[in-house]
Symmetry: C2
Subunit: 130 residues, 2 copies
């Protein structure tokens, strides 16, 4: 079961997250992403060819800091592992995210031939600032 504070940060508001992975040379990578969750997992939607999916397939350890966009002092630092990545429903998922974050029916930034992927992240530890 997901920590309730983390679940709410991921689902209730248009909150962003910083997601950190490790590059092939061992250096860190970070990007700001949209975030989603269910009762067990955190979901991050990305696209093939970016650093994140390549990094996560090589080393699935991930750090995610989810912060309240209206109050950046409210945040959760989650460590976990990417347990699955899938193209299935990833297109539908990015459109749902566009609805949540932008109020649009369709994700407006998609590129032709872009392949969306959803990473499923299992939280293993949480440090909270409430």
């Amino acid at each position: 079961m997901m920590d309730e504070f983390v679940y709410k940060l991921c689902t209730e508001d248009k909150n962003f997250a910083a997601i950190a992975t490790v590059m092939p040379d061992g250096s860190p990578h970070v990007s700001i992403v949209w975030i989603d969750a269910d009762e067990d997992y955190i979901y991050v939607n990305t696209a093939e060819g970016r650093a994140k999916p390549e990094n996560l397939r090589r080393d699935n350890r991930v750090a995610v800091s989810i912060f309240d966009a209206d109050n950046l002092y409210k945040q959760a630092m989650v460590k976990g592992t990417a347990v699955e990545d899938t193209e299935t429903d990833a297109e539908e998922h990015i459109h749902r995210m566009a609805k949540k974050y932008l109020g649009l029916e369709k994700y407006p930034h998609g590129k032709p031939d872009e392949i969306r992927i959803v990473f499923k992240i299992k939280p293993e530890s949480v440090f909270k600032l409430e």
Copy 2:
């Protein structure tokens, strides 16, 4: 010379940054921080005993994503190295940061015996979303 877009993001508004480092076991670490810059370096103020300073002293490679707090789609992803860390003026610096971010003369979250440190980060590459 610092990239002007990055410099402005770091100095003109109360923008936050996500800073990623690598843990001793090679897993990623990320936290949301206040940010500062001059014409050459990015500055991050932290405290002894936290993960960041220990990580950066072992492996000084760092990824910093600086985002506009009012428009999270405006951001700069910087890769660089922590070229120096110092206690000198770190107390004064955290008070200046408290002034910038909270409008307070004094940093309100200091703990007794806490040792502040400023990390000086040299940007090496920048990916911008403007």
